[in-house]
Symmetry: C2
Subunit: 339 residues, 2 copies
DNA sequence: GTGAAAGCGCTAACAT
DNA sequence: ATGTTAGCGCTTTCAC
């Protein structure tokens, strides 16, 4: 910056003003300084800027698993909003390792980022507290650790299950099956509870069969699919809710290969709108988890917390409403207007 | 740090030494200072550190599209290696927008990162030159712009096609089909050329049919699949190479639904080992694009360029060898040892 | 082994 | 409107 000042024949402070408060400098000086900046290819040092200014324009996003499309959506949502507000989002991936998550948080802490968006892998209050004690705001995404002493953005997973079941019921299905992983996973538990509620509300005319699976991956889905096919047609469900899209996709393919028509014989749907399951020829009905909104809302809350006086900030929890995305696997080809 | 020094009853410089060169400080002092650091929850300011030290321990990774699993792999490869070397990798996603890519590069430039890994969306020499003129090393990943004035890590796409065709030929298939997008895409062009070479080498006993597609997405694959099924069995290929996994997966599902057995009637394989196509019950043979190695090698080259004296550095191109990943869709279920 | 002091490249308050 | 200057929190000589 000194070089720029000398070359433009002005003082250092003037260059700074041109950069930060151009309205305080005469137009011709602004022009001259800017020309020199271009000429020299000057890029101002963000570190020094943040250090001297005592603030930062970048926020850190830490996600558990960047290969899951929900987290990719979260990142994109946050970035889009950040763009509008002149902030920068840096992504750190934890690759499902808790120690990596901690390392990322420490890195962000050391970088004196303005704030942190954290989509944690499990209860991370200890790490969060540490960072926050250093005065760095943290907003938690997609994980309910029951701590309302922090801002969070969550999706109503009970409603996810409820909407899914309701969707199938509204299509006239009466023998539902809920294919889920183990119940100790928070989202699985909640979605199952929601499905039960919808079935109960339907009175006695709808039944719900619950089939647990070992994992949430395709092989488990295929296994369940084969088990269903092994039963006499009258004994099969006519509507299947898979707790993840990957599970649902695998089930569809088994049905496909066995001549069971989807959705006419059996309607199938997933619950987490995961692009990793978009490879199919039968597009999959699912429930939108609103990753984009989650990222965007999270950043909004974070900005709010950053700019509010530290003591006066009121933490809030935003509960996002999931929404059915109806596709061919439940409503059939003709009803799908656009992919 | 001043607080730490005062609380520990030592000078500022000593705290710095404890942090950076503990061997230069007496053990008891080290211990005392460290205790105070823990007690105060002190985290040193990376910005100030980099500013004062004139270097940085973080490197920037800019990818075109974080929703493509190849780029996710690249990121993970780079991060794994970075962990071993005490560096930090910050990911910036460009969401397929060229202006975002430029913004990311400028951000990294302003942050004075040690170096940049760039997986660009198209010829980006202009942007690269700008950054490099500021003395910041850049390594290009997965894109061959013909510029050997930079370090690059590429995958031999011609070999991808060659290996794919060879794999099918070695399984006794003689009527191959290459299902590709438009030939103006560099990878498509190269893979097709490789497939041709393998077929030529096989002499007259193997034929290669080339079927272009509008896009590289599932719908195009399904379309081709239906076209193939529409032909009399003797007229159909017995081995299909889809230029992307998504295409391949869609084709398999069409075959599946029509009672065409994969791989016994027709073997099908993809070419880019994309996890977005892993949802199937028939696991897909593909060609490993070595994203992890790409990230790792890229970072290795980058570190080399960073530490080498600026003038003495010799740019190099690492050409990664793709490898067949044989799965059920070509070799059948029994031959697949593990997923 | 430890301490003192000069910067790193900026911002922001103040002086002109 | 422009120039001057004191830090921001550290690293790094160089003395002690």
């Amino acid at each position: 910056m000194t070089d720029v000042a000398r070359r433009a024949g002005v003082a250092l402070g003037t260059v700074s003003n041109v950069l930060n408060y151009p309205e305080k400098v005469s137009p011709e000086t602004v022009q001259r300084v800017r020309d020199v900046i271009d000429e020299l290819g000057f890029v101002r040092n963000t570190n020094a800027r943040d250090l001297a200014g005592g603030r930062s324009r970048t926020i850190g996003l830490s996600v558990i698993d960047i290969s899951n499309s929900l987290f990719v959506d979260i990142a994109r949502g946050a970035q889009n909003f950040a763009e509008e507000t002149g902030l920068n989002v840096m992504i750190a991936n934890s690759d499902n390792k808790l120690e990596s998550q901690d390392a990322s948080l420490s890195f962000f802490d050391g970088s004196r980022v303005a704030g942190i968006l954290l989509a944690p892998m499990q209860d991370s209050r200890a790490s969060i507290d540490r960072v926050r004690r250093h005065g760095r705001p943290v907003v938690v995404l997609n994980y309910d650790d029951g701590d309302d002493d922090t801002c969070r953005v969550l999706v109503d997973n009970e409603l996810v299950g409820y909407l899914a079941a309701q969707h199938l019921i509204s299509l006239g299905r009466t023998r539902l099956a809920f294919i889920g992983g183990r119940d100790n996973l928070q989202p699985v538990h909640l979605r199952r509870a929601g499905a039960r509620r919808a079935v109960e509300e339907a009175g006695g005319r709808v039944t719900l069969e619950e089939i647990p699976t070992e994992t949430l991956d395709p092989p488990s889905g295929a296994e369940v699919g084969r088990a269903i096919i092994g039963r006499p047609p009258a004994d099969r469900p006519d509507g299947v809710i898979a707790v993840t899209d990957l599970l649902g996709m695998a089930i569809i393919q088994v049905f496909n290969g066995a001549g069971v028509a989807v959705p006419s014989d059996i309607a199938v749907m997933g619950c987490d709108h995961n692009s990793a399951a978009w490879g199919g020829t039968i597009s999959l009905t699912s429930v939108q988890m609103r990753g984009l909104e989650m990222g965007r809302e999270g950043l909004r809350l974070l900005i709010d917390e950053i700019s509010t006086s530290r003591d006066e900030h009121v933490h809030q929890t935003v509960m996002l409403e999931p929404a059915i995305v109806a596709r061919e696997s439940t409503v059939g080809r003709s009803a799908v207007v656009q992919r």
